[in-house]
């Protein structure tokens, strides 16, 4: 195993760790920080794979990733949801954090067993840790989506899932055209923008973005607004 492979593995290991961090984060702000770190690690992995296989497309992936996920998405989120992210309150989970982490751990191991037959099926040159780690991160993101009860961490879990898919993808599609890459990145940006505006609107009307508290469906009338603020 060469040093580049080792470094790629290291980026993968830390990538997996940030996904665990997103499962366990207590504040929306740390969740966002972990997402930024995760995207940086994704870019690092793309860069290392690009160096390893001499593929300029992967450099493009790295650059697009840094621009879209490290700079633009956090910027949009901060602009639209400043208050949601920076209020220092604890975000809610269905399960307590140690239990959550243990379940997440089981999911990571399941991901490994899921990818073993996949690894056997594909050609030797595409095998590597990226697929298993990417799968694990997708599963962890899904799990986070299931247990979180607040809008911003849910959005970040969704983005983390996308990161996981990308992480698996870059080891499979080494000559991905840059156009596809850009399209996906723009897609992500738009999703974040729409979700941000939506969350902001929900917050404005109901006074909270705790998804767990939104159990009843009603038309927006002034007294609903009041009720929401009382509950908050």
């Amino acid at each position: 195993m060469t040093t580049l492979d080792s470094l790629n593995m290291l980026a993968g290991g830390l990538f997996l760790l940030t996904a665990f961090g997103i499962v366990a984060a207590r504040q929306a702000r740390s969740s966002l920080g972990l997402f930024i770190a995760q995207s940086l690690l994704l870019a690092a992995s793309a860069l290392l794979l690009g160096l390893r296989y001499n593929s300029s497309h992967l450099y493009g992936v790295a650059v697009v990733n840094v621009v879209a996920k490290v700079i633009l998405i956090p910027w949009i989120l901060r602009r639209t949801l400043h208050q949601e992210i920076y209020t220092r309150r604890e975000i809610d989970q269905v399960l307590n954090i140690p239990t959550s982490l243990l379940i997440a751990l089981t999911l990571a191991i399941v991901a490994y067993f899921l990818t073993v037959p996949l690894q056997r099926a594909i050609e030797a040159q595409f095998r590597g840790p990226n697929i298993a780690i990417g799968f694990a991160v997708i599963l962890l993101g899904t799990y986070t989506l299931a247990v979180r009860r607040e809008a911003v961490p849910l959005l970040i879990a969704l983005l983390a899932m996308e990161n996981g898919a990308f992480f698996a993808g870059i080891s499979l599609a080494r000559t991905l055209p840059l156009l596809v890459e850009l399209a996906i990145a723009t897609d992500g940006l738009i999703v974040v923008f729409i979700a941000g505006v939506l969350i902001r609107a929900v917050h404005k009307h109901i006074g909270t973005t705790e998804v767990g508290a939104l159990t009843r469906l009603r038309e927006l009338t002034p007294d609903v607004q009041e009720e929401g603020s009382v509950r908050n």
């Binding site: 195993m1 060469t2 040093t3 492979d5 080792s6 470094l7 593995m9 290291l10 993968g12 290991g13 830390l14 997996l16 760790l17 665990f20 366990a24 954090i97 140690p98 982490l101 243990l102 997440a104 751990l105 990571a108 191991i109 490994y112 840790p129 298993a132 780690i133 694990a136």
Partner: protein, 316 residues
Amino acid sequence: MIARAGFNLVQVLVVLLCAPLITGVLNRLKEIVQSKRGPGFLQPYRDLWKLFHKDEIVSEESSWIFRATPYLSFVAPIFVTLLIPVLTAYPLSFAFMADMVGGGFVLALAGFFKTLAAVDTANPYGPMGASRTRMVGFLAEPVFIIVFFTVSFIADSTIPFIVQKRWMSPPSNFVQPSHVLLMVAFVMLILAEAGRLPVDNPSGHFELAMIDESKSLEYSGKGAALMKWAGHMKLFVLMCIFLNVLVTPWGLADRIALGEVLLAIPLVLFKIFLFVLVLVVIESSLAKLRLFRITEFLGSAFITSVAAMIMRVFSL
């Protein structure tokens, strides 16, 4: 053979004599960072000197456990010193007596006796601290086990000298993800085991919030001195295992020569000093966790160590 036994003695002396210095430097640096006045870095030596010259009071109600514990907890880190590379990169005469799990067992034995001794005197704060230490202990246990398991999985051995060689040979071994993740998990373990800040406040004087300190509240004079000294040595030994085996396996004596072994002393102290700087940053920037948050802290250490293991499996 005689040379190696002699080097063993040098190692033990280094641990005995330098351990209070490291604690003193750590405390002094923390005072500087937090703009406190505080005593100089030689204060631990002065404390030990003072305590050794004071009378000892032992409760009539206490049993032999209370009296034996200071000696036991004093001897345990010295035993572990014989097993680990403190100054030399080659195994010394007792190195194969026990592996890392054995060393962990010896340290845990001392911890066990400290807990018993705290309960023994029926001082109200002792058993409280003892039960808390047990709580931290049983949460740290799975992390220990997984860390040792992963180390033996990667390096094919749990003898610290062999593990240390393993990271050196090709440099790509060193940046292996499992290795780096192990380091992170081990730092968290050291913080929990040595009673450092996010888990326990070593400089706290409030009995109700104490975890580790309250166990030696009943000791006075010589007993207290031994317990304190044992605490310094335990931190030193844990740092030695961490730095010399896992993080920086360089700078140890390679040849069987007294000059090299003596040269290794300042190098090892320098490495420990750098790690102390990291500890100061950790301890000055984090607040003590609430008692039930410790579960989460050690839970994340556990996740990190298991992730290290998973990464090893992924890369096969």
